[in-house]
């Protein structure tokens, strides 16, 4: 039925309904906007680990990595593993962002660069989060479509998943995402590695795999003219991602109780994700021996699951992947809705009560989720979407990095950097059709020069604003009495 064995369909339905019910159950815990947006920041190391792993590990990435590794070899892992360069920096950055005591990076930008830049960032934050939601949905739907042998259309799967995650996401918010992630994180890890032994057995062992594939399939980087994933591409994509790591709209989604939980959760979650990424890459390479000749690379993972796993396990894998994507989508829909509520709606109607803002946040999240569903239905391929997701945060990330370290970084520098980088990137990538890595060198260099030059040549930010900002940044969580002593405004403890 629908391209699935009846038992697989039963397992998928059971899995989806169980997780949706758990998500709906968490509605009892949601009393304030803070509960909805960040689960009240009550979580310890385990929950922060599973949430950061869950929010960072969506179905689109295994789809891309397995698909690209199937096509070009192990080098395909860089489509996700590129962020490994940023991973050690998370250990340093996360406590800083927790200390800002904010819900969104829009708040950060407003504090540092004024309200206009805050609005701009918040608008971009809504767009980026919904785009990311679209990527995740599209990725999961492509896998399920592949598993069903193309019988289930991608749009129908997108709509079913959207209906379920919007339902429990609007009820339980980020809290629901954390709890559902904690139920299924073990499935995600287990299933990430499970394709490998099945593929090896089907392929006839490691020797058969080694003899069937060209040597280039086992290299970590490709060569110019053969594959896009050259050493230069990897290096530049890593720098672009490091620049964008603080520019991502979800950078302020910090749910840990203290700085310690926050940094442990993020780093553990990301290392787990990197290990899973390596497993996806090997799965893709090995499946190229088992089942060569798939031209739509977004459907390789789906085909692998359908053709290799026994009945029951196909359903479990499909269900786990759908729920992973849904949980991630909940995160993005809540983040996007929070940008709307916190950085736009609250500015227009500042005197409403907590209940009112909670309702608006829920409605805004549903609206943003619908926009993400639209993106999932109209964009052509996942790799196209992923490159947009890499590039855009780096435009704003540069000024945020600068603002953390250098007092002279100002709103003029931030605006000029975004305009210069976006223009140069568009001209190089779409006008001159330069390769990604060359484009990155040009627009990143111009971005740094613009930020420093414009910030030096234009008026400084008011000293009092800077003093408040750096007081927040340098005051550890738990020492809020110092901030109170100097009457520093704390947005959200």
């Amino acid at each position: 039925m629908f391209g699935f064995n009846i038992w697989d369909l039963f397992v998928i339905t059971l899995y989806l309904l169980t997780i949706t019910s758990i998500g709906l159950y968490t509605v009892r815990k949601i009393k304030t906007v803070g509960d909805f947006v960040l689960g009240g920041r009550k979580f310890g190391k385990f929950f922060t680990t599973v949430r950061d792993f869950g929010l960072g590990t969506s179905t689109d990435e295994p789809v891309i990595v397995v698909g690209q590794s199937y096509a070009i070899g192990l080098a395909g892992m860089w489509y996700s593993l590129i962020n490994i360069v940023s991973t050690p920096f998370y250990w340093l950055i996360r406590p800083w962002l927790r200390r800002m005591r904010i819900y969104t990076m829009g708040d950060f930008c407003e504090m540092r660069f004024g309200s206009k830049y805050g609005y701009f960032y918040s608008f971009a934050g809504v767009l980026k989060s919904t785009l990311q939601l679209g990527i995740v949905l599209k990725g999961a739907a492509s896998v399920v479509a592949g598993i069903s042998g193309g019988i289930l259309p991608v749009w129908a799967i997108v709509l079913v998943m959207a209906a379920l995650f919007i339902l429990y996401g609007a009820a339980g918010g980020q809290y629901a995402g954390v709890i559902t992630d904690s139920f299924q994180v073990f499935f995600i890890i287990m299933l990430s590695f499970l394709l490998i032994p099945f593929c090896v057995v089907k392929a006839g062992g490691f020797t058969a795999i080694s003899n069937s594939l060209p040597k280039s399939f086992f290299q970590l980087v490709g060569h110019t003219g053969v594959s896009e994933m050259t050493g230069f591409f990897v290096l530049m994509a890593a720098i672009v991602n490091l620049n964008g790591s603080v520019g991502n709209p979800n950078a302020a989604t910090v749910i840990g109780k203290t700085e310690w939980e926050t940094r442990i959760g993020m780093v553990n979650g990301m290392i787990l994700k990197r290990l899973c990424t390596v497993a996806w890459a090997f799965s893709g390479v090995f499946f190229a021996v088992v089942h060569p000749g798939i031209f739509n690379h977004d459907q390789v993972l789906g085909t692998a699951i359908a053709s290799i796993f026994p009945v029951g396990l196909v359903g479990l894998m499909t269900g786990a992947m759908m729920v992973t994507a849904m949980s991630c989508c909940v995160g993005f829909m809540v983040i996007a809705g929070t940008y709307f509520m916190e950085n736009f709606y609250k500015r227009i109607t500042p005197d409403k009560n907590e209940k009112h803002y909670l309702l608006v946040n829920r409605l805004a999240s549903v609206g943003c989720a619908s926009l993400g569903v639209f993106f999932a239905l109209v964009f052509p391929t996942l790799v196209d979407l992923l490159k947009y997701a890499w590039v855009v945060p780096s435009f704003v990330g540069m000024a945020i990095w600068g603002s953390l370290a250098w007092r002279r970084t100002n709103r003029y520098g931030a605006w000029a950097t975004v305009i210069a980088m976006a223009t140069i990137q568009a001209v190089c990538a779409y006008g001159f059709k330069l390769p990604f890595a060359v484009t990155a060198v040009i627009y990143l260099s111009i971005g740094y020069i613009t930020l420093i030059t414009v910030s030096m040549l234009t008026p400084r930010e008011p000293e009092e604003r800077l003093d408040e900002f750096y007081a927040l940044l340098h005051t550890p969580i738990g020492q809020e009495d110092r901030l109170k002593y100097a009457r520093v405004k704390i947005l959200h403890y």
Binding site: T87, F282, W406, A486, R487
Partner: protein, 77 residues
């Protein structure tokens, strides 16, 4: 932090005179001696021991993941 502490922190305090507020804001700033670059425009503090050790450990784990993958690739090629 208990919810009682949080309520205490959230409670309104009397507004300060601008000069007094400025003084207190300066008082809680990072001292120049704790900055990596001893210049008033730079705000990078010397990291705590836990930050340095943690950073190096995570860096080593990441390097191990990449090296391990490369090594497995070599074994298979």
């Amino acid at each position: 932090m208990t919810s009682k502490d949080l309520e205490t922190l959230k409670s309104e305090l009397p507004v300060l005179e601008p000069e007094e507020r400025k003084r207190r804001l300066r008082e809680i700033q990072l001292p120049l001696s704790r900055k990596i670059i001893k210049h008033p425009d730079f705000e990078i503090a010397w990291p705590e021991k836990v930050s340095v050790i943690g950073f190096l450990v995570v860096l080593a784990v990441c390097a191990l993941i990449v090296f391990g993958t490369w090594f497995l690739g070599q074994l298979l090629s």
